[in-house]
Symmetry: C2
Subunit: 594 residues, 2 copies
């Protein structure tokens, strides 16, 4: 048995050989194994372009090569022999690679031959082409890729292939990927009309449509109310601030490339804020503070502005501006641990309410002592003590976490709560940071019990994270099938006949008064059509009413998740939904008689 | 009887004469009558500055001149005579005025003499100095004022005097003004810790402190929920947009001086939005629309960014950024009137809830056909029809309004709801605008019942206005004594003895669960001190609890407004406050047994 990477790498040679049979003029790039398969880069001629429509033909050639079989043979060549070989073959990229190897001091290079195809390659490979026959592979897609990854070089065409040791493994992967694509928040966001990315407004500046706005508002009110309950003081500070704020904080020195350009307004240099800590710390400093005032927990739903490369911009996950449920706790050194624990508990409470507690992982993000890019505050003592404190708290909390060197904030280490999006990419959804640096830089003080001035510690934390990004994760986690309390529309009332319209309208009014998000479909259409259309919107409860229901004061309810149908007294139905809202229920069930 | 302006203008001459006696070196500017009094401008020497501490001395000289009496005598002089007079007297500003009159073609100018003081003056004046003896006046303050109002000229010192026909009138005015100063939202805002203007963050970028933030959040949730109830679709769009959006809308052409500078982000020119209509119209255009979709009512709490002169910045009234309860209705031409009426009704409903319906006035803001400053869309036909439509609706509604030429938006006429702030300055608090221009510029369409494309009409409207500015008006209107539903803290629970602390804590928990904003003062302090401190915070209800209350399950409640004290069952007290919140009660009364 070969490692799967060896098989996939060997298959990439078979792919190159097959492409050369279909398009003999292509120039070859490189072809490594990757996760879930392999790729190979090609530069076709303008006359004979590489297109996905050629995949069947290329795959047929690959299978014919596999059928024929033969050895993978390694040979060693001098630099001159190797260069000569590829110059004769008209393969300039391969010749370039050999030049580079020579510059690094290599005297010889290795070649692998399989059938009539020979490639510059380090190996290893399978012994015989026949050994690849059990692999299950399929050509997946073509994407552009610059030669050697540099924009200055020509753009090659990269053929990606999926490849696994068995057909079952390949099928499972393809099915999972389809499911992920189906769950992609951009796809569901469009289907459910939750948000729209409108290029006319600007790249990375998505709009939340009415239903997406309802979800954001629900999350926002939920987290603000919960934070107030936990002793946070919510404030509103400006989206803008003097540049000096960020010079003081150190963002200007460490983080400028992510900040928007400074605007000259009269005599003032003003900048859109990338983060709100300088605002909250300035607010802290606006009055003398005593130990009796601490801990102070500032909370705010903050607009934050970050420059991102336009290629990085992704739906509600990477944007040019977003809204963070931000908070800064200012406390005495003795209070740091209990406040940190309080912040973790708030995050855990929120994850529980959102139903995502099982899907996350914890990461202790530490600084990189060998960093050369000026990413971190130069204060080894501070790093040693703050990282020790973070790790100590995490261990006492008994959290399972992994360490990530080089992922700290510039001013201190942090606990990141990580979530994988539908496409498998891990993103930070919530974060809690310990900061000994900014209290120093902002010269923050409090008068202690001893009557003397002391330096407080700051904790930067988000609770429900970036509202847009959390929405994206929720959309993907639930594939849009939100629990009732999060669903933008909770009930759709549908009239079976026109005679039941007055009754239907009465129910809608009653549900609205009870704080339930309800819409009505009172069109003169077949009920089957109404139900089909409403299902596409993933509404938790479809309530149909006809003569029978009107006479008995009941509703016929379809549960989105169980598909169960039941006729129950309207009063019970309404009461059950109110209960689902109040208890943040994660499972539907309001159509069950109470 | 002379007109009061004549008396005040005559008194300004007496003031100038008195100042010359006290500071013989001053150069004289001008001295007109103004509302509530008069002023006179002076340029003192550096050695002998004009200070408010000289007021008693100056007033004494004025009274001595009045006591002496004598005629106000008018004489006519040639330009040469007049210039000679003031050059001899060493009064360059007067000489400059005469030169200007000569340039305008005057052959002679008039002088008025009173006692030993002679001034260039058009009059009219009282006949005799004695006639001024019944006037009640007082020197008020000194302020800097550029000669002829131009920054290029020297800065003179202006003495303002208050002056009325009777002592009663003067006293009333002074008392009213003191009351207004006491109500100034900046003063109360600081006393109640509602907001802070922190120069370190930026000028015109005030922070809402926890209690001010609670007021804003209360207003925001109130208006959003009410708009949703009225069929608005709330959305969230970005604070930023492409410059092209504002080129299309016409803001770039008509409104650029109020906009922030454009930022170059990669290839994109991005600007902070001064208004949100382009965003909502782009959203409208993002899907095909039919007459069945109309009216569409977009609502949003929008961050807006306006450049203001730093001298204009005022507390929560003029800021560099603010939050507007903004909305844009897109409708068919046939729906304009009913949608306009709906917008007026919403504003009236909100004013009723806020308790300010009696304090506002309506203004029909029309364009100025003679405007030379490119302030308005050049489309006389549009203006004629849209202004006729506005006036027609207002008349049919039976609103009392005044017309204001030159106050329209650049794209259309508007109804402004005007409110005077504590200092008597009128500001627009809510506005509703009819717009035929932007639907054209954004090429907005809908498919009509006839299957053809039509152009919709837009209505721009605010409901509760700019949240910060509305807060400022409410603070001044109520002098911080908000109705319960708006009060940042509704109840302060105070323990009389330490034994009553557990009972007090129980009440706090119960009130919190009922959604009531409550704080507790459980310090070991005399109850008298606690009550005095809490009163300063203008909290509607002070609830004191001791042994007696704990045993009987009651509270002793002090009503902020009536000063009444009563002991009632706690359950009743809580129920009454919940009712005040639910009914948006404007008057306190929760301490009355129900």
């Amino acid at each position: 048995m070969y490692p799967v990477e060896t098989c996939n790498h060997s298959l990439s040679h078979i792919l190159a050989a097959a492409v050369l049979r279909v398009l003999p003029d292509v120039k070859l790039g490189i072809g490594p194994a990757i996760e879930n398969g392999f790729y190979y880069d090609f530069l076709p001629t303008k006359e004979n372009p590489l297109k996905e429509s050629l995949f069947p033909k290329i795959e047929k050639e690959m299978r014919s090569i596999l059928k024929k079989g033969g050895a993978f043979t390694r040979t060693e060549k001098t630099i001159a022999e190797a260069t000569g070989f590829f110059e004769t073959a008209g393969q300039p990229f391969k010749a370039e690679l050999i030049r580079e190897l020579a510059e690094k001091g290599n005297q010889t290079v290795s070649f692998y031959a399989s059938g009539d195809f020979t490639d510059l390659c380090q190996g290893p490979h399978v012994d015989k082409i026949e050994d690849l026959r059990t692999m299950a592979f399929t050509l997946d897609r073509i994407a552009g890729a610059y030669w050697q990854g540099s924009e200055k070089n020509p753009m090659l065409q990269r053929i990606y292939a999926l490849s696994f040791p068995s057909k079952e493994a390949l099928d499972t992967y393809v099915a999972n990927r389809e499911e992920a694509a189906r769950r992609d928040h951009r796809v569901i966001g469009a289907e459910m009309k939750l948000f729209a990315s409108l290029d006319a407004i600007g790249r990375g500046l998505p709009c939340l449509l009415p239903r997406g706005a309802t979800l954001r508002r629900t999350l926002e009110r939920f987290v603000v109310d919960e934070e107030l309950r936990r002793g946070y003081q919510h404030v509103y500070t400006a989206d803008l601030g003097r540049k000096e704020l960020y010079v003081t904080s150190g963002h200007w020195g460490h983080y400028q490339e992510s900040m928007y350009p400074v605007m000259q307004l009269g005599d003032d240099e003003i900048v859109l804020r990338p983060m709100s800590c300088p605002h909250h710390f300035t607010l802290y400093n606006s009055e003398p503070r005593s130990y009796r005032d601490l801990p102070m927990r500032f909370g705010e739903i903050v607009s934050q502005f970050r420059r991102e490369q336009s290629g990085e911009l992704t739906g509600l996950i990477r944007m040019m501006m977003f809204h963070l449920a931000d908070g800064h706790i200012v406390c005495t050194p003795e209070q740091v641990e209990s406040e940190f624990v309080g912040a973790v508990e708030l995050v855990q409470y929120i994850m529980g309410r959102l139903g995502i507690a099982e899907t996350i992982s914890y990461r202790a993000s530490l600084h990189d002592p060998d960093d050369k890019a000026n990413k971190y505050e130069d204060n080894p003592e501070m790093w040693a003590s703050s990282e020790a404190q973070l790790i100590g708290v995490l261990d006492r909390l008994g959290l399972q976490y992994k360490k990530a060197v080089g992922e700290a904030a510039f001013y201190g280490p942090k606990l990141d709560v990580q979530q994988k999006n539908a496409m498998g990419k891990e993103e930070t959804i919530f974060t809690i940071q310990i900061d000994f640096v900014l209290p120093e830089r902002f010269d923050m003080k409090y008068v202690g019990e001893d009557g003397k001035e002391h330096r407080p510690v700051a904790i930067h934390r988000s609770s429900i994270g970036c509202l847009e990004r959390t929405m994206a994760f929720l959309i993907e986690h639930y594939a849009g099938m939100f629990p009732t309390w999060l669903a933008p529309v909770q009930v759709m009332v549908m009239s079976i006949t026109d005679e039941s319209i007055p009754y239907a309208k009465g129910l809608v009014d009653s549900l609205k008064k009870a704080g339930i998000r309800v819409e009505a479909d009172l069109r003169n259409e077949k009920i089957g059509k109404k139900v089909r259309e409403a299902r596409l919107q993933r509404i938790p409860y479809l309530a149909t009413v006809g003569k029978k229901e009107a006479e008995s004061g009941s509703v016929s309810v379809r549960n989105r998740d169980t598909q169960a149908e039941a006729t129950i007294p309207f009063e019970t139905f309404q009461k059950n939904i109110v209960a689902e809202n109040e208890t943040y229920a994660l499972k539907l069930g309001a159509e069950q008689a109470g």
